[in-house]
Amino acid sequence: MIQIAQSCVGCGKCVSTCPFGALSLVNRKAVASAACTMCGACVSVCPMKALSLPTTGAAKKDLSAYKGVWAFIEISDDGHTQKVRPVGFELLSKGRELADQLGEELCAVVIGDNVKNYYAELSQYGTDKIYAVNAPEYHNYNTLAYANAMITLIKKYNPSVVLFPSTYIGRDLSPRISSELFVGLTADCTGLSIKEGNLIQTRPAFGGNIMADIKCPDYRPQMATVRPNVFKKVVTTAGRMAQIVESNIAIPVEAGKVRIIQTQMDPVNANQKLDEAEVVISGGRGMKDKEGFELLENFAQTLGGAVGASRAAVDMGFKPKEKQVGQSGVTVASKLYVACGISGAVQHVVGMEHSDVIIGINKDANAPIFNVCKYGIVGDAKQVLSKALEQLKK
């Protein structure tokens, strides 16, 4: 349980901060209940510095040997060709900023087959060094093979920060590595910065409308995953070639315990790919029913856009999880985003706020979605869309 010192003056700031409702005032002193999860959210709000987490006996390690910001580069495969998944460039661009603040080098780590093909484009984002592991056996992603390669490199070169894309591959690989190395891993960060030498990892937390800064002060490397489209890619060193460090790392025998039998790619339709679509029409609880989502499909088709959904709509079974826009779903950065019947929880907003033009349609004029909209339409989303669709079809 959180520790509360006698210096508590009973101001109550911590009480309203606690995401779990575990703090209350008794005789003008803060008291924690068994609901306390020791998340530490209250510690920084106390003006008297009366709140603290129990000190752990963990011996302070010397962290000065850990240097360098790394980005794991995912190779995408559409069944015919392999190429760098663009989120890798986004991680490198953000990584450059972090490396500058730390005064350390920025490194790309790429594992695969024929990775030489990627050196030039990976060098453009301010990349100082590329760690490459190249062998035909790495052609397809394999958890144990890739984890072993990453762990070998991390143990040899001791980076201070390792960033992963929050994709099926990144989310499979990164916890395997953090578990082995006994280091922290923060999922789906929407912001990354440096404070007092630590990586500050910002993400919506506790499932609600609140942001948290997470840090791992006593552990290195600090690891985080980031969804595609959260950071912008910025070419800063066009034409420069990074230093290449190639390593031969044998694939562990255990990797053969999992074998690919067949790969089935979805039929490719550019407009259907949510994270690359220029126009995204998303629906939430306010679309009410299946009919509402059919209307959304029609509307999107008319505008040549893709359909997304809020978490509520996914939970209600109107759309599959992979169409969920938000922190735990897809992040979009479209030219136009129309939020239909979506209230605008921060969970959703962080997944679409980078869109150029945002239109919100919601019958509640106070819905938080309107705080991020260029245009706010206060009305029943289903009715407005169906009437607008009639006009567009004329």
Binding site: P19, C39, S76, L336, Y375, V384, L385, L392
Partner: protein, 262 residues
């Protein structure tokens, strides 16, 4: 065959409301449910049990009231339930949680297949399953929509970027499950729930599983909350009110102005 399903009790996200004044979650009175991904994983385990006669053990970590999700799992057809509950687990992040669950699985001893939901809906990290696999030093396959086991192998269908992949894996293996669209969790009949009352649940402490206390709770958790804060305030845009027809006209006008339609 021995299957262990890791399950978690979570607040029902569809019922959580936001305090309009403070913007924080109102948790009071929100019912707890079995994490839907775990619920689906459990159903898949029970399908395999029906075909092969496998033993299904459910494992959870949480406060005493989390026994409710074990009871539900037993009523649905699981054979045995184990709850890890101890103040020593409090403050655990995904590292310490996966260590504790893996240590309990080692104590259970017999396992061929470990099934987990891909993530819990109250944390969304998807880290605990792979963490358990690593602590047990067994392979993992994540984000699967189908799993089947026979002999000493499993076949899974997993989600990959832009498609799906069928994989075969040797047991013991850990598989994390996604869930289908339109998934409606099954609930037991009154009779099944009544009959399951005779089935055993055990509560284990950190000492019972022989866990290293340095790897549990806060001490076993590398991540710390530095601060929490409300999302930054933004500039409100242009707002429109009126009848549905008027608003539809406005919407079409905006789409033209922004050159989305000609």
């Amino acid at each position: 065959m021995n299957i262990i399903v890791c399950i978690k009790q979570v607040p029902d996200s569809t019922q959580v409301k936001v305090d309009p004044k403070t913007g924080t979650l109102i948790r009071a009175g929100v019912p707890s449910i079995l994490n839907p991904y775990d619920h689906f994983a459990l159903e898949k385990a029970l399908d395999i049990k029906a075909k092969t006669g496998a033993k299904v053990t459910v494992l959870s970590m949480g406060p005493n009231q989390a026994i409710a999700v074990l009871r539900l799992a037993l009523a649905l057809g699981a054979d045995e339930g184990i709850l890890l509950s101890d103040r020593a687990f409090a403050g655990s992040d995904t590292w310490a949680t996966s260590y504790a669950l893996a240590t309990a699985i080692r104590k259970i001893g017999q396992y061929d297949l470990i099934l987990c939901g891909q993530m819990a809906i109250d944390g969304d990290t998807a880290q605990t399953g792979p963490g358990i696999a690593r602590h047990l030093n067994i392979p993992q396959v994540t984000f699967c929509e189908h799993v089947d086991a026979s002999g000493n192998q499993v076949m899974v269908k997993k989600l990959i970027d832009g498609g799906k992949q069928i994989l075969q894996a040797d047991m013991p293996v850990l598989v994390t499950m996604t869930m289908p669209v339109d998934y409606t969790p099954k609930y037991p009949s009154f009779m099944a729930a009544h009959k399951a009352q005779d089935k055993q649940t055990h509560t284990w402490t950190a000492a019972d599983i022989g866990a290293d206390l340095h790897k549990l709770g806060l001490e076993g958790s590398p991540t710390r909350v530095d601060r929490i804060f409300p999302p930054p305030a933004r500039q409100k845009g242009e707002m429109f009110t009126g009848s549905a027809a008027e608003l539809a006209n406005k919407l079409v006008e905006i789409l033209k102005k922004e050159s989305v339609v000609k």
